[in-house]
Structure formats: C-alpha cells, structure tokens
C-alpha cells in the first residue's frame, strides 16, 4: 500500500509539473496574469508530493518491505536502520527520487523567496524548472520506478553495497545533489532572461545568491566524497580523476566561473553573454554528469546499474534541455549587448581571465573524461585516461588562476595600473617568496613543486591580509577613528570572498604538503612488532575478531607511541560482508591538525602475520578544511545584508501598496 501511495504521488507530481510548465510559460508569453499565478502554488504542491513519495520509499526501506524490488536489491534485514534510510538514495532509482526531491525543493524555495522578482520572470523561471522536472518524472516512471513490486517478494534483500555503508555516504549524495540541482535555478534564471530579453544588473542580483548557495553545497558535496574515498577505499588517496568525480567537478569549475562572472554583471553590467552561457553550461554539465553516471557509457569505480534504455532517455532529455537553451543562446545572445569597455589590466580583466581559465580547465577535464569514449566510438580501441593527463593539464591551468586570485580583488574596476598594483602587493609577494624558500627546509626537503605550491598558498593568504588592511585603513582615513573599529562595518559579501579565497590557499597547502612529504610503509607485522614512521612508533598489539550486524571481520589493535609515550590506539579492520560476499578494508585514521596517521590492513600471510600499510600524511585534512572554508565563504556571502535589505525594502513597498489599495 505504501509503495503504491508513493508511486501515485509521483504520477500526480508529473501532472502538476506539466500544468505548471504550460500555464506559467504560456502565461508569461501572453501576459496572462492568472495563468502566471499558477506557478507558485504548483511548485509547492510538487514539493509536497515528491516529499511524500520520498517518505514512502524511506518507510519501505525501514520496514524491510522486500516486495519492493528496489528494497530487495539494495537493503537487507540485518542492515542497521540508519543505513536502511541511506539506502533510500543508494540505488539508481532512489537517487533519482532524491534528485527530483531536491529539484522540487529548490522550486518551492524560489516560489517562496522571489517576492521582489517581477511576476512574469517568476513564472518563466518556475515554468522552465517544471519542464526539467517533467523530464525527470518521466524518466523515473518510464525506466526507473523506485516503487516497482517484486512478486513473489524476496525472503531477504541483496544488501546495500558495503562501500556505501558509511556515515560519509549518508550525507554525501544529498549535499552533492543539492549543488547539482541548485544550478537549475540560475539556469532557469538565464533562460528566462533570454526569453524575456531582460538581462540587466537586477537580474544578476537575483541570480547571485542562488548560484552561491548551490555552489557552496556542491563544494561540500565534493569534499565529502573525496573524504569518503580517502578513508573508505583504503588506498589513502583523496582524488582519483574518476569519471564520476569529474562529473561533479566540471560543474563546480564552471559554477565557480559563473559566480565571479555574475559579480561583474551585477556591479558593472558587463559579461552578460558570458554569464548566461556559464549558467547554461554549468547546469548542462550537471545533467551530463547524471548521464555519464546513469547510462554506463563510461566505466568507473562507482559502477551503477547500466541500462541502454535509460541512457537513450537521458541523452534525449539532454539534447532537449541543453540543445534548446544553447540554440536560444545563439539566437538571443548577440542582442543582449556588451557591457562597458574596460582595460585588460583591471578587475574585469582579471575576472575575464578567471572565466577563461576555469572554462578551459573544465573543458580539459571533459576531454579527459570523454576521450576513451571518443576513441571507442571512432573504433580506435579502448583506453583509459589516468591521473597523469589530468595532473599535467590541470596544474598549469590553475596556477595562473591562483596567482590572479591575489591580484584581482586588489585591482580597480575598468582600469588599474600595474605599477600601483605592484607597489601595493610587493610585501605580500615578498612574504610568499620567503615562505616558499624557507618553509620546505624546516620540513626537511625542498623541491620546486613544494616551493611553488607554498608560494601560491602564501601569496593568496598574504594578499587577502593586504586587501583587508587596505579596506579598513581607507575607511578610517575617510571617517576617522581606529581602523580596527571598521572591521565590523565591512559587508559580509566581502568577508565571504576573503574566506573562500583563504580556503583555496588552505586547500593548496594540504595538497602540496601531502604530495611532497607523505610517507608510506608496507610491512609484514606479527603481534609485538613495531614500525616507525614520521617520528611515531607503531606497535601491533594483536588481533581480535569482529562480529558486525551484516559482516564479520578481523580488527588489528595498534598502539601509537611518540618519544616512548602512548599517543593513541588504532583499530583498522578487514571486513567481509556476508550477503554481497565482498571484502572491505576499514582504515584506522588518527586525525591531527598537521598530520594524519593512516593504517589499513593488507592481507594475512603465513604464521599469523599480516601485511600492514601505514601512512603518515602531513596536512592532509587541510584539503577538506580548505573546501569547507570555501563553502563557508559562500554561505557568509549570501547572508550579506544587502540581500536582506532588498527583501525588507520589497516588503515595505508591498505593504505600502497594500495599504494604499485598502
């Protein structure tokens, strides 16, 4: 009964989405207000319906209803309850349901927080989002119904993939999808602007917070995924340039460019074509990512079910959504006009280079991801493009972008002068140079790559500091008083920018230090033997058997000693999941601010000995710390008071018109 209720809710949601798309788009085209007014209530109704369907599926999982195919293939009665809930989105069908839940949630949010946007724009935006939703509802109902029954029911389920039985995996997909799907909002804004021809700074101001929030979620989602790979796959790596990782990384790159481009469109009225194109491309890459993951055209660590019918559907949908919007762009963009003229050495110039670099980076990731497919399609054989390609292409593209990150925020709009910039930034550069020369020596090894990484990181940090100091001394020079008292007066948007840029620097420190100073040892250990790494001595005390809810395994007990004193006890595990017949390595990690100790069990060898893998990873947590700082910067920027002011002003004027009408 419950699964049928969910199934029914999706069917109704499809109808509502169809109605919403038709009436709001037709209403906006003909200026029919009652039709346009359908958009908001329809969006809320869709959200309620999809949420209902989602709850129905979650309840089916919780109740171990193995008469539902999806539950039987992805859950098991021995699975703990929290993983049963997470299993709701652990399968292909369930993750699609999560997709549309997010989409309708975003739609509902747009309906709620768009009081200051003209009605016809809201109608267009919600109409376009509803069209996207129609596609996904159809996809679910036609090829991937999460509520399909299995008759007769299975006695027990096939269990959730053990790789996904992990707390990180519980929150990673929702965060990632919030980001992916969140870009549908700015996409809808862009297409609505092309349709109406209204592409001005007000449009950019409405789009900005939505873009930033989606970007912040995507950042957190990617960081969580990378962190999960780090501790769950047992290889100690944090990024593999896997097609599925790339699929989330490409929209992040163009989304980052989009955020910066929107700033120019709002503040200077420039970059209009760029901004619209980036909005379309970013969401298109989100859809392409879905296609790549769901269609099985590429093989990857994240092997999901593959089904050609699904691939054909998503491809058709992709052609419709992306093709139409790019055609619209080709038709309308030449008319949106250029912004004001600017000199190449100016803030616009820096941001334009940033746009270009990020676009090229995204394109090179796309090329690397699809290259095996291209060759295969041309009959030239099957190959895989590995990390060497991506490292070789990506680092040289990002380095200038990182350098510009220090210069751009300091440059004046329209025209800046190089000697002036050089004078203001010389100390920042000097600090960066000295750090790059000296810091690696204190760590005991100096290589050009380490020095270069640190140069960029310290350069960004120092230029952020110079920027902040300049801002407050300028304010103090104009208004009197102590500069520090002006710290509170700076807008949150500014702090958000500083925080995000600082996060990038922290991230670079993490990557540089791990790549430069990581040490690893594979040793054969018997109880009582020790291994020393990174100034620590690790002693294997023994093994014990583990009996989990749906697995059995062995747990090593290792004591970490520093200068003869005990620092920690670590418990790496080797598990065997009974239902899926799959061995899993659970690494033990001792997390620290400046280093991680990472231990994973290899294989049992003769005489009660095990191969134990021990890593010392300096500053590795800075990688994810940096990503979280970037996301936090986004959140801080969105909380800027000018957005709240705009809303308050809107409310006031509405009240005024309401009382005037009364």
């Amino acid at each position: 009964m419950i699964p049928e209720l969910g199934h029914f809710a999706i069917i109704i949601a499809l109808l509502v989405a169809g109605v919403q798309a038709f009436f709001s788009l037709a209403g906006a085209a003909t200026g029919n207000r009652p039709w346009m007014n359908v958009a908001r209530p329809a969006a809320h109704a869709q959200f309620v319906l999809v949420a209902l369907a989602f709850v129905c599926l979650a309840v089916s999982f919780l109740n171990n209803d193995f008469s539902v195919l999806n539950v039987a293939s992805n859950s098991n009665s021995a699975l703990p309850w929290f993983y049963r809930i997470a299993a709701t989105w652990g399968s292909h069908e369930g993750s699609l349901l999560l997709w549309v839940l997010m989409l309708s949630g975003w739609m509902s949010a747009v309906a709620l927080f768009s009081r200051h946007v003209p009605t016809d724009m809201v109608a267009r935006i919600l109409g376009i989002m509803a069209l996207v939703a129609v596609g996904f509802f159809l996809f679910m109902l036609l090829t991937s119904n999460p509520f399909d029954r299995l008759l007769p029911p299975a006695v027990d389920g096939r269990d959730l993939n053990p790789l996904l039985q992990d707390p990180g995996m519980v929150i990673h997909p929702p965060m990632l999808y919030m980001g992916y799907v969140g870009f549908s909002v700015v996409f809808a804004f862009a297409v609505a602007a092309l349709l109406s021809g209204r592409l001005d700074s007000a449009w950019a101001r409405w789009s900005r917070p939505w873009t930033t929030v989606a970007w912040a979620f995507l950042t957190i989602g990617i960081a969580l995924g990378s962190w999960w790979a780090y501790y769950e796959l047992g290889w100690g790596g944090w990024w593999f340039w896997d097609p599925v990782e790339n699929a989330s990384f490409m929209p992040w790159l163009t989304g980052t460019a989009l955020m910066h481009s929107l700033a120019v469109t709002e503040k200077r009225g420039g970059f209009k074509s760029w901004t619209v194109l980036l909005a379309i491309v970013t969401f298109s890459l989100s859809l392409l990512g879905t296609f790549l993951v769901r269609s099985g055209v590429l093989t990857s660590v994240h092997a999901f079910a593959t089904d050609p019918a699904r691939g054909v559907f998503i491809l058709g949908f992709l052609v419709f959504v992306v093709g139409t919007s790019l055609a619209l762009f080709a038709w309308r963009a030449p008319r949106v006009g250029l912004g004001g003229q600017f000199n190449l050495i100016s803030r616009e110039g820096a941001l334009l280079s940033n746009n270009v670099l990020l676009m090229v980076a995204a394109a090179s990731v796309l090329l690397g991801t699809l290259y095996p497919l291209f060759l295969d399609a041309l009959g030239l054989g099957k190959i895989s493009v590995g990390p060497p390609y991506f490292d070789a292409v990506f680092v040289p593209l990002m380095a200038p972008a990182m350098f510009l990150m220090g210069v751009g925020p300091m440059a004046r709009w329209k025209q800046a002068s190089l000697p002036d910039l050089a004078a203001r930034l010389k100390w920042a550069f000097a600090v960066a140079l000295v750090s790059a020369a000296v810091l690696p020596l204190t760590m005991g090894k100096w290589t050009p790559m380490i020095a270069f990484g640190l140069l960029l990181a310290v350069w960004i940090m120092a230029s952020c500091a110079v920027n902040l100091r300049e801002r407050i001394t300028q304010l103090a020079a104009n208004g009197g008083g102590h500069p520090v008292s002006y710290l509170k007066k700076l807008p949150r948007g500014y702090y958000g920018m500083l925080l995000a840029h600082f996060g990038v620097a922290v991230f670079i420190v993490g990557v540089t230090m791990v790549n430069g100073y990581e040490t690893e040892k594979d040793v054969r250990m018997t109880p009582g033997s020790t291994v020393s790494i990174g100034g620590y001595v690790i002693r294997l005390d023994g093994f014990e058997d583990v009996d989990g809810p749906n697995y059995t395994g062995v747990r090593g007990i290792l004591t970490v000693l520093k200068d003869g004193r005990q620092r920690d006890v670590m418990f790496p595990e080797k598990r065997f999941y009974n239902v899926q017949q799959m061995p899993m390595t659970e690494a033990a990690i001792d997390t620290g601010f400046t280093r991680d100790l990472y231990i994973s069990l290899g294989e049992a060898v003769d005489g009660g000995a095990w191969i134990v893998r021990v890593y010392h990873k300096p500053f590795v947590d800075w990688i994810w710390g940096g990503a979280f700082l970037m996301a936090l910067g986004g959140i801080v920027a969105v909380s800027d008071r000018r957005y709240r002011l705009a809303r308050a002003a809107q409310r006031k004027s509405q009240d005024a018109t309401a009382s005037a009408a009364a």
């Binding site: 790019l326 590995g386 594979d522």
Partner: protein
C-alpha cells in the same frame, strides 16, 4: 551570431559521440579468440627470475589468465576478489603482468596480496597483443585443451565470478 553558435556546435558533436557510445559496452568486446586455442607463450616468471612459464605446461587443467599491471587502477578494484578466489582454491589463476616493471609489480603484489599460482612477465606487451588485450584488467578462462572459453574485460566483480566464471570452470573441470 556566428560566435554565439559555437557552444551549440560543440554540444552537438558531444551528443553524436555519446549516442554512438551508448551502443558500445565498455566492458564487453567480442573476442575473436573465444573457442580458439590460446596463443602459445614462453615468458619469464615474475617471482623467480631465470625461470620461465610455458603455456604448454599448463595443459590438462582449467586455468584463469588475469592480465594486470601495477599502474592499473581498476585492477585494485578486482584484486580483493582474486585474492579471495585464490584462498578458495577452486581454480589456478595465472597472472600476465602487462607492460610493467618487475620491481613495481612485486611491490604492488606485496602491498595488495598475491593470488597468482604463477606470473608471466610481458614487459613489451607482445603476448598481450596476441591475446587481443584491449585494456587492463582482462581475464580469460582457458580449458584443459588450452582453448579460450571466456573473456571478461574490465574489473571482475562477485557477480561475474559467481554467475559466469566459476560455473563455467566447474563444467570444464568435469
């Protein structure tokens, strides 16, 4: 106008490739070698330099040939299954160490476990070419007469092992 068309054109090109890609399965390539005798080889052993592995010596038993390399990331994905397969002692698994360095391969096996009964070193990839290796990893099932009966491209998984490889091995062993 012309410049604004570029994104659309690029997208159209990508779609064409994706469309063709849909009809290709990255994991299944029909091998013309299935049902044919396995190529004859005589290659040095990985673990004991000086010793050799000859395909002729393997006749009379059913065996698996697993093409692997230390530089191959997907190999890590299938490796635990091979290790547990070796522990079950159902069928000997021979490794073909493809275009790899001896030390790198030994280090890799020390780190991830060594499921192989014997490992042939194919540094130049000649034997790999004779076996029609498209990418690493690949796994072949070879019967008592030395005929290739099955080929799997890409990492092995429990489903392929339990539903395809092992039943076939059991049938061939009778």
């Amino acid at each position: 106008m012309a410049r604004a068309l570029i994104p659309l054109v690029v997208f159209a090109l990508i779609v064409v490739f994706l469309w063709v890609g849909l009809s290709l399965n990255p994991r299944e390539v029909p091998s013309p070698l299935i049902g044919k005798p396995a190529p004859v080889f005589e290659l040095p052993q990985l673990r004991e330099s000086g010793a050799a592995i000859r395909s002729g010596d393997l006749k009379g038993q059913v065996w698996l040939l697993n093409v692997f390399a230390s530089w191959c990331t997907p190999c890590l994905e299938e490796h635990p299954y091979l290790v547990s397969l070796a522990q079950r002692d159902l069928v000997p698994v021979y490794g073909l160490n493809y275009k790899d360095g001896r030390n790198a391969a030994l280090k890799w096996l020390g780190k991830h476990g060594d499921p192989y009964t014997g490992i042939a070193v194919d540094t130049e990839g000649r034997t790999g070419i004779e076996f029609g290796v498209y990418g690493v990893p690949e796994t072949f099932v070879i019967d008592k007469e030395g005929v290739i009966r099955f080929k799997h491209i890409g990492p092995l998984n429990p489903r392929v092992l339990d539903e395809e490889v092992l039943p076939l091995v059991a049938r061939l062993q009778q």
